[in-house]
């Protein structure tokens, strides 16, 4: 029998007892499955423990009554455990997050059961949308459902994608396999036929997505937890950033910040030359590139500045 600690069994029992009372009797198997309670251990705990629980003077009317008959369990006189324990604040938020993200991700909640359940949960826990709001990233209408549907059927999708790093718009055939949310943006990862390797796409940069008649061709199935890109392996740059502009680095994975009186030397991973350029241009006056792990990465800033300048020169 698997070892479940006393407190883990207790957490299950104080949830299961009110449920059994409420059901007016329940099948042992169902209780076991609902509360992840091994059947033998459940029977033993009900008979040898719960049966003796009560309050002084421990007369029959102050003890929980457990009746087990064949495969059924009835519980009565469990006044102290007539209701389950309150959900904690972080449990409520996690439940809402799972539900809201699933709604955003998967528009297949046809019966509306999930949406209804979420509304009830919000109401009961004082978490209306004015009190708790959650945003899991926006995407062009229809793009996410198409990707999601294609992933389920293992069919390739044709997308029109804007790549910021390359500054180009391309049409690609991809095999959407994995989805995730990072910093409030949806991403889809999978094999890209154009690149002939695994790629990650930001969903809000996908202009259109169309399911094709072609099934997935790549044999490799990326394991869901295996990252496809690595911050560790990305090239590094060290940039001098005036203190007043450090907020621009919020949310970025930064290796090191060496604070000075007026500016800080910041070392951080860089996803592309173009990305580094836009960061430095936004930092603006006072910015300086101190060093890079990859020499070509630092080039091109004057050109980038020049191009924006040209567009804004008075005509």
């Amino acid at each position: 029998m698997s070892k479940i600690s006393a407190t883990d069994r207790m957490a299950r029992l104080i949830a299961a007892i009110p449920w059994i009372v409420d059901q007016d009797g329940a099948l042992v198997d169902e209780i076991s499955e609902r509360f992840d309670y091994p059947r033998d251990l459940l029977l033993q705990d009900l008979q040898d423990v719960v049966f003796y629980v009560g309050v002084p003077p421990y007369t029959p009317d102050t003890l929980i009554e457990v009746t087990i008959d064949d495969d059924m369990v009835w519980i009565s006189y469990a006044d102290w455990f007539s209701r389950p324990m309150r959900l904690s604040g972080s449990e409520i938020l996690s439940l809402l997050a799972a539900g809201e993200a699933a709604l955003a991700f998967d528009n297949q909640d046809e019966a509306g059961a999930l949406a209804r359940g979420l509304t009830k949960l919000r109401l009961a826990t004082g978490s209306d949308t004015e009190t708790v709001d959650m945003q899991f990233g926006l995407a062009s209408e229809n793009v996410l459902p198409v990707l999601r549907g294609a992933a389920e059927q293992q069919m390739c999708v044709d997308i029109a994608y804007y790549s910021f790093a390359q500054d180009e718009r391309t049409e690609r055939r991809i095999e959407p396999r994995r989805f995730f949310v990072d910093q409030g943006n949806w991403y889809v990862a999978g094999f890209c036929h154009r690149a002939s390797s695994d790629r990650i796409f930001r969903v809000d940069r996908i202009e259109s997505a169309e399911t094709t008649a072609e099934a997935f061709t790549s044999a490799t199935e990326a394991s869901p937890d295996e990252p496809m890109f690595s911050i560790e392996e990305a090239p590094r740059a060290s940039v001098l950033v005036p203190n007043a502009r450090l907020y621009l680095l919020d949310g970025l994975p930064v290796d090191l910040i060496e604070h000075g009186d007026d500016a800080a030397a910041v070392t951080l991973p860089v996803s592309s030359t173009r990305w580094l350029q836009q960061l430095m241009i936004r930092v603006g006056p006072g910015v300086r590139l101190l060093s890079t792990s990859d020499e070509t990465m630092g080039s091109g800033l004057p050109d980038a500045v020049e191009r924006i300048m040209l567009r804004h020169s008075t005509s």
């Binding site: 938020l93 439940l95 991700f105 869901p224 173009r274 241009i281």
Partner: protein, 312 residues
């Protein structure tokens, strides 16, 4: 007596009692504790810790008619008992399926037990091939603030080297971060705080301490609207390459799609710095069309950048 039995009895007695009970009272009522006083104390302390870890709130108050006052313990029923959402079986099943589909780091099965457990026959422990949603490591703090909001408790904390007293009203999860907003008593104004910037612990005051007033969440897209400057209407062209951004993130009435696929965006600027940060994020794929002052501001900014690396 087994530990499980002792813990269940302890909880039942603490819920049942109408006034705080001393440790000795509880020892007598529950039985089954060690005879030796020192080991009773140890066991009793551990039991209380176990209940608290499980999420039970044990209130400590002095036992009536004791001199000097003795510490007593009680579990308030209205605090212990849950808010029953009254979920229909299919609603609970849908929620459970959502949790299996979306990987939310902090979510365990025990939350579902409190709602009646997972319906049998449903794919439960199996992770479906869905997205993962990191709720960040400030989820615990967000949970504390959720409690503070629902019980209307003032929260004190340190933020950017200033001590704050906040009447929290709204929690927002956006751009991968938790924010709390509400009435900041220190500033006597509505404020938004990012949870990962709160220094150290938050201290909660007594319940029902304020009238809740609606609060806005953080604005992470239209940052140019967040400021005290006189509003200036600006026109920005975003080239076709990046037009999708505007189509996804802005309201339809803010954008106009041109024949060449670019979009013309009309925005109201109250924060020039944020406006510039936004426009320059597109590099040369965006252009400020109007007004001339904001156009000039961009070139002025670019001229200030010292291009140490000499062009060829």
């Amino acid at each position: 007596m087994s530990k499980l039995e002792r813990l269940l009895k302890l909880l039942a007695v603490l819920i049942d009692t109408e006034q705080p009970l001393s440790a000795e009272d509880l020892r007598r009522r529950i039985g089954g504790y060690p005879d030796n006083n020192a080991s009773f104390r140890r066991t009793f302390e551990r039991d209380k810790d176990d209940l608290r870890t499980m999420g039970v709130t044990i209130r400590v108050a002095s036992v009536p008619a004791t001199e000097p006052p003795l510490d007593g313990y009680i579990v308030d029923r209205d605090v212990y008992e849950g808010q029953d959402p009254g979920l229909e079986p299919e609603e609970l099943a849908a929620l459970h399926l959502a949790a299996a589909l979306v990987r939310v780091d902090a979510l365990g099965e025990d939350a579902f037990w409190k709602l009646g457990g997972a319906s049998p026959g449903e794919a439960t422990n199996e992770r479906l091939d869905g997205p993962s949603v990191g709720l960040t490591d400030t989820n615990e703090e967000a949970g504390v603030l959720h409690t503070a909001i629902s019980e209307r408790r003032v929260v004190s904390f340190r933020y950017r080297d200033v001590d704050r007293e906040l009447e929290p009203a709204r929690l927002s999860f956006t751009k991968g971060q938790w924010y709390v907003s509400g009435h900041d008593r220190t500033r006597d104004a509505e404020r938004v705080f990012r949870l990962d910037r709160i220094d150290g612990d938050m201290v909660l005051g007594p319940a029902d301490a304020y009238e809740r007033r609606p609060a806005r969440g953080p604005e992470v897209t239209r940052t140019w609207e967040l400021g005290d400057e006189d509003p200036v209407s600006a026109l920005v062209r975003i080239d076709a390459e990046e037009a999708i951004w505007a189509r996804v993130h802005l309201r339809p009435d803010e954008i106009e799609i041109a024949d060449d696929g670019s979009v013309i965006v009309r925005v109201l600027v109250r924060n020039t710095d944020a406006f510039r940060d936004w426009v320059l994020g597109f590099l040369d794929n965006a252009e400020v069309l109007e007004p001339p002052e904001l156009r000039a501001m961009i070139t002025e900014w670019l001229r200030g950048i010292e291009l140490v690396e000499e062009s060829r």
